[in-house]
Symmetry: D3
Subunit: 73 residues, 6 copies
């Protein structure tokens, strides 16, 4: 499943495997088929979404936010 | 391989499968084990890196740039 | 309407009033009840979404991307 | 009033209606004519600006940071 | 000079030494005392600001957008 | 020294002069030849990198994240 209406194609589906709740910001780890993606969102968003470990979730990010490093063969 | 010294853990290795060169910005697609990641970087960066289709590359992004959507089971 | 499952509360609904299509990036203007919001997304996203002037659209952005300037009374 | 010299047109004036001060980051809510915009800035910035509930403030963000979702009619 | 009212301390003053105008986005180089900072802004912003080579300008960015790499001694 | 393989040219070398460790996010100050750059990264990244005051470090940011303000002569 994906949010097809949102412009970015950078959408990775996975499962929330940890939520570190801070006073203002929380760190959320989403395990996808290609590895863990870390996200930092507000703790108020975690509460509003009712986000919990075990939830299915989508990690989205804009192409403009991605850096590219060239690797040696 | 990864840039272990860079703070973000969000690093996905893959192969450059397309580069759409624009006048100022270029869209780069990196095929990783978990799907294609799109990146937008300056065309001057593409030239400076000598980035070409077929190159091994790393896509990096900060956790703060990731949005989270909760999915229904 | 809003994407209630997405973490950010910064969601503004409006109507697409202009799309400036560039070779790689496009500038989209969304007229909301509180003014025009400008967005820059890839032209490939504009095509994939089939986005056109007159469409209803949502502008979303993360709280971490907002700068705050204090104004004099 | 706006910061006309800054490149982005995405500038929304409003009033600070809440500040949640965390140890490092703070969440600031600015009520504008079109709804509340949430911003996350460093707590050190909140102190440096002397930002308080009731202050007039401007929320700014770059067009490149805005995602667009197409809505169904 | 700085925009003291804006929250970020990451403000670097310099001189615009080049503007590469694209159809939608433009790349602006600002020479500061510590090196050249590259910025990508919309071409419509370049026009609106009347930005030209030789202008004094300020490059601003949020602390949340900065990545940190540890260097070996 | 620089990470020549990473796309952005916005790389500033310096020395870590302070780390404010929060529960989830940490504020890192890097003194460069042109002034202090503030970065906000996750506290887990600070730990993983073993980042300490006195370390040599590189601050990197994308051109797309830079705002430009025109200054009066």
């Amino acid at each position: 499943m994906s949010l097809t209406r949102v412009n970015t194609r950078n959408q990775f589906k996975g499962t929330v495997i940890s939520i570190l709740r801070g006073d203002v910001m929380s760190e959320v780890e989403i395990e996808t088929s290609s590895g863990v993606i870390g996200a930092v969102i507000t703790t108020s968003s975690v509460k509003r979404l009712g986000l919990q470990v075990g939830d299915s979730a989508l990690a989205l990010f804009k192409a403009a936010d991605v850096l590219v490093a060239k690797l040696d063969e």
